[in-house]
Each structure stands twice: as structure tokens, then as C-alpha cells.
């Protein structure tokens, strides 16, 4: 299962090589052209010269840590790459650098914490990676400053057609895009597996500039907060209710014709869908829609509980329905379902 291999691959922002190779190997035979660029985006093109030119983007980077220093004891000081809740860090197993050295994010044991320390989350400045070595010299042999650390977790099946694992944000989206590339659409399909989304939508900006598409579709993973302590209006999305359509976030507003096209496509194909009930955070669509003289963009997302942690949950029905919806949207675009450059 490609999704499982993608999830288990290591690829924090700026270090997407392993994921890129995996996708390239899996998909090269299905497309007409494979290229990369200075930032490391992976471009796969199909239907060269057809109209309209459509960009479909899924970011392949995940959140992680970066090694920034050594303690005399051999423990590693780290910073976060992308946004991770400090509360999920302690006691997680990570894999570091290109040799995938094993380590644990360590913190003072509960017995040694002062009473007021026990009531607070341990912040990143009081966390470190423990390689199981006894000195700085030994640590330096294994890990270099600037090496990335990512969570490690094998994908496991769970409950009602769900998967537990890491980096579903956005390897689940990558897996959808990979499936689309195995199919044929009556348009010029420019698939981009983008880099550095988690640190500021950086890969997608240059990719959109370079492709200059007529329209773009972003396939993402978004938080599902249908859990204890949340009221229904604050769920963001609900696991199992289908792909989520973004209305707006801090970087993007969905044009009315995009909302209409996606909703009509879902209804026509009887695909369950929901709206993302959060208007903050951002996706690649934020930068794509503001590239060149403006590019019409849409975002659909797979709901994911415990996102940005090593134990996220997605529902495979949601994943399948996201694939179906993305396929339906591409077909609707091919059939002329969008006004691509309006006149007053």
C-alpha cells in the first residue's frame, strides 16, 4: 500500500528526498515528464499541450525537529520545523539524519519534576533528543548539526476502516495525487509534490510560478476536532464525514464558483463532503492563488485526528471519497465547468 510506505518515509520540510524518490519510482511510468527544481518540488506531467492547464498540488513535507547543538553529555538540543504542539513531543521515538539514527525526545522524569513543573507542558527548550550515547564526541559521530529528526511510527489498521500513523499530513494527500496520476484526464495535468509547506508554503509558490496553470487544486489533510471538549460548531472537521472543502483560511478565500463546482460535483457523484469550520491556518492554495496575475484555486482535505503527531488517525472511506471528489473535480474542469478568466 503506497499510503503506508509514504507515511512511514521520513521527510521533514527541506529534507523531502526520501519521499520524492519513492513517488518518482512509483509514478514515472505513468507520466510523460518528470522534473524537479531548485527547491526540490517534484513535477509529473501528463496530457502535454491539452487545455486547460491544471496544477494539482500535494505537499510531501512533514513536521519534524532539527538538531542545533550538543550537550557535553551527548544529548542533542533541537528546534521545531513546522508547528508541533510541545505537549506531544516528550517520550516520542525519532529517526535522525540520512542514516536514520534512532533517538528519543527526552524530558525530566515525573519523579524529578517540581510540583509546578508537573502542571505545565514541557516546552521545546527543556526537551532534547537522547541517542543513548555517553558523550558529545560519540553524539558528533552519529549526528551532525542541521540533521533533521522525524517521528517514527509504523502504520496500523484500526477500528472502523481507519489507519493510525504519522505524517498523514500530507502523505494521505500525496497518495490521492499518486492515484490520480495513474488515470487519464482530458486536460494538461501538472502534478506537483511540493516541499516546505509546513514552514510557509514555499515550494508551492515557485511551482505555481513555473507551471503558470489556468487553475489549481490542492489536496491536503486537515484537523478533525470532533473529540471530547469540542462543541459541534468547533469541530473543524469530523472524521468519516467525507472530504472537507475549505471556505477560507489565513491565506486564502474560496471563490464562489469554486465552492459551487466542488459542492455540485460531490452532490452529483453522491460523495459525502463537509466544510472546514476553521478559518485560520493555511495551505499551498494561499500562495498559488496569489501567483502571477492570480490563479483560480481550490482546496479539499482529508480529515485527520491528532494531526502533527506520531499517532494520527484517518478514515480510509474519507481517503477514498477524497480521491473520488478530486477525480470528479478534474473531470468537471475538463468539461468546462469553470469560468477561467471572467469579464465584467
Amino acid at each position: 500500500m503506497l499510503l503506508k510506505r509514504l507515511s512511514e518515509a521520513s521527510g521533514a520540510s527541506g529534507d523531502e528526498g526520501e519521499v520524492r524518490s519513492l513517488l518518482k519510482e512509483e509514478l514515472s511510468l505513468h507520466v510523460e515528464e518528470v522534473t524537479t527544481d531548485a527547491l526540490g518540488n517534484l513535477y509529473l506531467k501528463k496530457g502535454f499541450g491539452r487545455k486547460p492547464r491544471v496544477m494539482v498540488a500535494a505537499h510531501m513535507d512533514e513536521v519534524g525537529l532539527m538538531v542545533v547543538g550538543y550537550e557535553k553529555s551527548g544529548l542533542l538540543r533541537v528546534v521545531k520545523v513546522g508547528s508541533i504542539d510541545d505537549r506531544v513531543l516528550a517520550s516520542k521515538v525519532v529517526s535522525i539524519g540520512k542514516d536514520r539514527i534512532a533517538g528519543v525526545i527526552g524530558a525530566k522524569a515525573v519523579h524529578l519534576q517540581k510540583p509546578d513543573e508537573r502542571t505545565k507542558a514541557i516546552d521545546i527548550n527543556n526537551l532534547y533528543i537522547d541517542l543513548g550515547v555517553r558523550s558529545q564526541e560519540e553524539a558528533e559521530k552519529l549526528v551532525k548539526i542541521g540533521d533533521y529528526a522525524t517521528f517514527t511510527a509504523k502504520v496500523r489498521e484500526a477500528g472502523d476502516n481507519c489507519l493510525i500513523g504519522k505524517a498523514f499530513d500530507n502523505r494521505a494527500g500525496c497518495a490521492v495525487l499518486a492515484e490520480l496520476l495513474k488515470e487519464d484526464f482530458d486536460l494538461e495535468l501538472n502534478a506537483v509534490f511540493t516541499v516546505q509547506e509546513e514552514v510557509g508554503l514555499r515550494g508551492a509558490g515557485v511551482a505555481a510560478y513555473s507551471i503558470h496553470p489556468d487553475v489549481a487544486l490542492v489536496i491536503e489533510t486537515t484537523a478533525a476536532a470532533d473529540v471530547v471538549g469540542s462543541k459541534e460548531a468547533a469541530y473543524v472537521t469530523k472524521l468519516g464525514d467525507g472530504p472537507a472543502l475549505t471556505l477560507m483560511d489565513s491565506t486564502y478565500m474560496a471563490p464562489q464558483q469554486i465552492l459551487d463546482l466542488v459542492a455540485e460535483t460531490a452532490e452529483k457523484l453522491a460523495i459525502p463532503y463537509q466544510f472546514r469550520r476553521l478559518t485560520t491556518a493555511g495551505t499551498d492554495a494561499g500562495i498559488i492563488s496569489q501567483t502571477h496575475a492570480g490563479i483560480l484555486s481550490a482546496v479539499i482535505s482529508i480529515p485527520c485526528r491528532y494531526i502533527h503527531s506520531p499517532a494520527s488517525i484517518i478514515n480510509l472511506d474519507d481517503w477514498q471519497n477524497t480521491l473520488r471528489l478530486a477525480r470528479g473535480i478534474l473531470n468537471a474542469i475538463a468539461e468546462g465547468g469553470l469560468r477561467l478568466e471572467g469579464t465584467a
Binding site: 460548531a233 491565506t251 478559518t279 492563488s289 496575475a293 492570480g294 490563479i295 483560480l296 478568466e341 471572467g342
Partner: protein, 338 residues
Amino acid sequence: MKELLKKLSETYGPSGREEQISRVIREEIKDYVDETYTDNMGNLYAVKKGSGAKIMVAAHMDEIGMIVTHIDDKGFLRFSNVGGLSPHVLLGQRVIFANGSQGTVGMEKLEEINKLKLEKLYIDIGATTKDDARKHIKVGDIATYHREATIVGNRVIGKAMDNRAGCAVLVKAIQELAQTENEVYAVFTSQEEVGLRGSRISTYRINPDLGLAVDITMVGDTPEAPTMDVSLGKGPTVKIKDASVICHPRLKEKLSEIAEKNEIPYQYEVLTAGGTDAGAIHLTKEGIPAGVISIPCRYVHTPGEMVDLDDLAHAVKLLKAFLSAPLEMREIFPCHLE
């Protein structure tokens, strides 16, 4: 001017849903320009052709609003802000959607009023069930304040003076502008309130020699107002800086010279927070000299924004004077690249 401002103020047009206000503005200017067109993000362009410098004048036409994120079983609408919206100002407001549906803003039970957050508010459109609400409103629909513009003496109170006052100034200036050598691109921009987005892509499309934004600015002349040396009724401002842009000093001087020569009252504006389209314009492509003319405005982002009609009239005069004189880019900007 009064009637135009009233009409523009009362027209619906939050960020991302500018079609209605765009149509109204296009009707006002289409007979005075060589062409009009729109783009993917809803910007409205109006071009007066010429052989000289390309000047872009941007006035954002979007207003702040409330986007529906959820409809509950009883038909109440939960929403999030589109642009800078205060929950305290929202209490008790009437709101209106693109299709004319109206509602009022209600509040959950609250122990302390200073703990009021947008999450505690909802819009009640008089629906009795979710299905009833859905007959009128979909998730993703955007409401704005619903408020008539009122003329009080020489001043006008209403919603969306930010930035329909700027739009009114640009419309008037375009209507009254005689043929000039300059090629003038009036752009009524979209999505300014959510991040200067319309101006970013329209500047890229036009690639002008110079950009000028026409927007509103805050004032410091009301009781216990934060210190700011701008007053209502003392003329449009020539912006020095805000959080998004340091205006080109030569453009600032040029605007001041023109104002003095034509005996137009003006004020210098240093806005410590907030931004405007010039922030996006000046950073586009290789960098574009940019400045701002602002209309002083009280009670910004409330349904009771107040502007002074003389300030608008003087802004029109200043803008017209600036646009009519052939712009010698080399003279004003010696470092200007051909």
C-alpha cells in the same frame, strides 16, 4: 458625491464576494474609460489609455464581513470573521447576505462581558430549523453589516466607508479626468481586508511605473483617541508610512507640492498599525514606487464609520491634479529603470 458615497456604502461586498459592488462601480465609470475588465480574484480594472507613464490607482472595494462556518439544528448560524471584526461591536447588529437575507447577531450566556469572543456569537435569521435556514443560507455565505448611510451636516455615517469612501473618490476622479498623456489604470481591488491580495495580483498584471492607493485612515481627533496627528475635515492625507509600506519619499513630496500649488488642504499621515494596498504594490516584481492618499475616517470597522465630504472633495481634486500632469518618471525618480 453624497449620493454616490451613499450608494457605494450601502452596496454589499465583503472580501471574496465583490461581484455586486463591482457591478455598481463599473456602471458608474464604464462610459468614462477605454475598457473595463475583471480577473480571477474579482478585481475590477478601468483603463484610460495614454502614451505616457503607466499609473495604477488602487481603491479596495471589499468590506469586512462574517462567514458562515456551521448551521446548527435549530437554524442558528455560527460564523468567523472576514477581516478585522470586534465581537463587542457586533452585539445587536443587523447583518445582510448577498441574496438579501437578513439576521441579527445574538450572544450565548456570558458571565463576564470582557470575555466576549466571536465563538460566543451567532447569527439568527429567524429560521426555525436547520433545513429552514438552509433554504436561505449555505455554509460559506458571507454577511456584512446592514446599515443605511446617513448624511449629517457635511459628514456621512455608514458602514464600509472603509473603503467605499476611497472608491467614491476614485470614481469621481476618473469621471472628471480630462484626457492625459498618462495611461491610468484604476483598479477597484478585492480582498484587501484579508491580506492585500487583489492588489498583489493586479499590480503583477499591470506592471505599472507607479502605484497609488486611495484608502481611509484612522484619526486622532476624538475624545481620548490614541495619539495621531490626523483630523476629520482637515483634508485628505498624504501617507508617510504604515505597517505595510514606507511611501516613496519623492512621491510624497510630489503629492504635497501639487496640493500646495492647487491650495488643497492636506495632512501628513503616520499610521502605526494596519496596512493598505500600497504595501503589496511596492513589493511587486522589481519593486514599484508607491504612495497613498487617505480619507480620514472615524470609528473604523464599525457600522458607524464617519467621513467628511470636504475631505473627499479635496481628495478628488488632489488625485485629478496628480493624474492629469504628464508624469516624468525620470524627473521624479532619477533611479527609475527603463
